[in-house]
């Protein structure tokens, strides 16, 4: 996972970071599925990860990570042009609906997946893959627990 290669070619492979990103997105998929299910789930995974990681590294530290990951993903996915991150705000990600409307569900979903992949890889480079995995796993666990529980809530991006 820990690779300096953050170019499009590297990300097109099913890297461990991408697999984790997809697991995160799957854990946020609404049931029943709708027309914009994939994009909403991917954006929701970003929202969720922002909140969970903020517990560890603080909202500002987490915002710095997401800002960098978004910048990298934007270079590959023009669909993310209208996306704005708002630190310490609810929701954290602004412009999801407009992006889906402009670029469609699949392209938006792929773009947010790319944000997650870049973020996971960045985290791995900073603190080591094993530690990054731990943090993401905890986030995933919290997500799945929230989904399974009677009071589980799901964010709308």
């Amino acid at each position: 996972m820990n690779s300096a290669d953050t170019g499009k070619e590297g990300l097109s492979r099913d890297t461990p970071a991408r697999e984790i990103a997809r697991r995160l997105i799957r854990s946020r998929r609404p049931d029943p599925a709708g027309a914009d299910t994939a994009a909403r789930a991917a954006a929701s995974a970003c929202e969720h990860l922002y909140r969970e990681l903020s517990r560890w590294v603080g909202p500002d530290g987490c915002h710095a990570l997401f800002t960098r990951a978004l910048a990298q993903a934007q270079a590959e996915h023009p669909a993310l042009e209208q996306i704005q991150l708002r630190a310490r705000s609810e929701p954290y990600i602004d412009g999801v609906a407009a992006t889906i409307m402009a670029h469609g569900d699949a392209a938006t979903a792929e773009a947010f997946e790319s944000v997650l992949v870049h973020l996971i890889e960045l985290l791995g480079r900073l603190i080591g893959d094993d530690m990054a995995m731990k943090l993401i796993d905890r986030s995933l666990f919290a997500s799945e627990r929230g989904r399974a529980g009677p009071s589980g809530t799901r964010e709308e991006a």
Binding site: S54, W56, I127, L135
Partner: protein
């Protein structure tokens, strides 16, 4: 329900610290780790966490505003104690910056308590507590009616009732000890790093610990890849020492044992002084080889050259040296940094003594040792050396030290004036001129509790080592460096 409340001790995970603390960290204590930037507070807290955290009783590490958590994790994980497997489960990092920046002390306390209720930790760390206090500086009283004093009181109360051992980290200066947290804390560990000329020396002091008798004073420490390593001023081995038998040990130098009444007294501190090239290191090596030949083990601490060079040179004269090192009967400790503390040197030597069960220790040389010390320790070299020698001999080992004395040719200096008081036996070497040749002589000038010769004896440094010759009874004025032949030496001898 009867009996006293037992205060268990937690291991600190920091070599040397449990000894300084008087047995470890008191369980459920509320502690402050104070010190300036870069003094090692965060590293110390992490070592304590990693030594104690379990999945069942995790450690919570609350970060506030100081070092960003990501950077802290990035750097902390370089230490060998950092086990990534524990991160996230047994050790959980929680950021309090939102509560501190946007809310009040009541909210901060509430968040800490709710996290404690959730995770049921055994240990919590707040890094840095100082920023919590600073964040509330302009708000003497909050919406929930807390000021800083009340916050500290309530935090301490909550942590104790939740059976948590806690550590608040903060950058404090010595003059700030009126801060309420100092009063409430059960234990205060103060870390400092002082710069003296080009060297930096780190020190730890246990300012306060309730219910324990910590080791007083300042204890030097180093931060290595393994984290903090404390060098207590009074090593554990000394306090647990057993009485040793006192016998005589051969020096291994032909003729020298006779000069000192049959050999070095076991457990004594011996100093051999002399000018450069007089053969001090050679004698020291012979002393060690004699012990090895008798089935003993030993430690040599070198300060003036790299161990490889020292061993190669010693091995050329005594091939036994290399063999004994390979067999684990001898260790050569290299102590040459220029920011060395006496306690660190003592720790290294004692560790070698303990590991090998050594009976003989050679320190070659005191002059090199003094230079290797950080400047701040050179000022109290006498006191430090007194402690070093006292601690070593208290373990029962015999310490053989060399010291270089600079001498004008016609002026004899028996010892370095600073350190002769610490020794039981002093042997001096010097050069003299006889018949236009440079000759070497030695004499015993101090031997506590034993008879010894009082005459100068010549000696040679041969390829196999130092060999002592006879006394110069036909000469007068040896001490001047330029002896003169007596007019009637035989008569003179008879008169004597």
């Amino acid at each position: 329900m009867n009996g006293e409340a037992v205060i268990r001790s937690l291991p600190s995970g920091v070599p040397g610290l449990d000894s300084v603390l008087g047995g470890g960290l008191p369980e459920y204590s509320f502690n402050l780790i104070a010190g300036g930037p870069g003094s090692g507070k965060t590293t110390l807290a992490h070592q304590i966490m990693f030594a104690n955290a379990t999945v069942e009783r995790p450690a919570l590490y609350f970060t506030v505003l100081g070092e960003p958590t990501l950077k802290m994790l990035r750097y902390q994980r370089q230490f060998s104690y950092f086990d990534p497997e524990l991160a996230g489960s047994a050790i959980q990092f929680i950021n309090l910056s939102a509560e501190v920046m946007e809310r009040d002390l009541g909210e901060v306390l509430q968040r800490i308590v709710s996290e404690i209720e959730r995770a049921k930790p055994g240990i919590i760390v707040v890094d840095s507590f100082r920023t919590i206090a600073a964040g509330q500086h302009d708000r003497q009283e909050t919406a929930k009616g807390f000021n800083l004093d009340q916050f500290v009181q309530r935090l301490a109360l909550n942590l104790t009732t939740w059976e948590v051992t806690s550590f608040l980290l903060g950058e404090y200066a010595a003059e700030e000890q009126r801060n309420p947290v100092f009063t409430v804390a059960d234990g205060i560990l103060w870390l400092t790093q002082a710069t003296d000329r080009n060297s930096v020396v780190r020190k730890l002091q246990v300012v306060k610990t309730r219910g324990r008798a910590p080791m007083p004073g300042l204890h030097t420490f180093r931060i290595t890849d393994a984290g903090l390593q404390i060098f207590p001023r009074i090593p554990e081995q000394t306090r647990n020492r057993a009485p040793q038998k006192r016998g005589r040990l051969s020096t291994g130098v032909p003729g020298m044992d006779e000069m000192i009444g049959g050999g070095v007294i076991a457990g004594d501190a011996v100093m051999l002084t002399g000018p450069a090239g007089s053969g001090k290191s050679t004698v020291a090596t012979q002393f060690m080889v004699a012990g090895l030949a008798a089935g003993e083990t030993g430690v040599i601490a070198v300060f003036e050259e790299y161990p490889e060079e020292y061993i190669a040179r010693a091995n050329a004269r005594n091939p036994e040296i290399g063999k004994m090192i390979k067999e684990g009967k001898l260790t050569v400790i290299y102590l040459r940094p220029l920011d060395l503390s006496v306690d660190e040197a003592l720790f290294a030597i004692l560790e070698g003594v303990e590991r090998l069960g050594a009976r003989r220790v050679v320190i070659d040389s005191l002059s090199g040792f003094e230079v290797a010390l950080a400047p701040t320790f050179r000022d109290d070299f006498r006191e430090s050396l007194y402690r070093l020698v006292g601690t070593l001999t208290a373990t029962g080992v015999t310490v053989f030290m060399t010291a270089e004395v600079s001498e004008a040719f016609s002026e004899a200096r028996f010892t370095t004036e600073k350190v002769s008081f610490i020794t039981d036996e002093i042997i001096v070497q010097r050069y003299i001129e006889m018949k236009g040749e440079l000759r070497r002589v030695m004499a015993v000038i101090k031997m506590r509790g034993s008879d010894h010769t009082h005459e100068f004896r010549t000696y040679e440094v041969t390829p196999r080592g130092v060999v002592v010759g006879g006394p110069l009874i036909e000469y007068d004025g040896i001490i001047t460096g330029v002896p003169t032949l007596r007019a009637n030496p035989i008569k003179a001898k008879r008169k004597k």
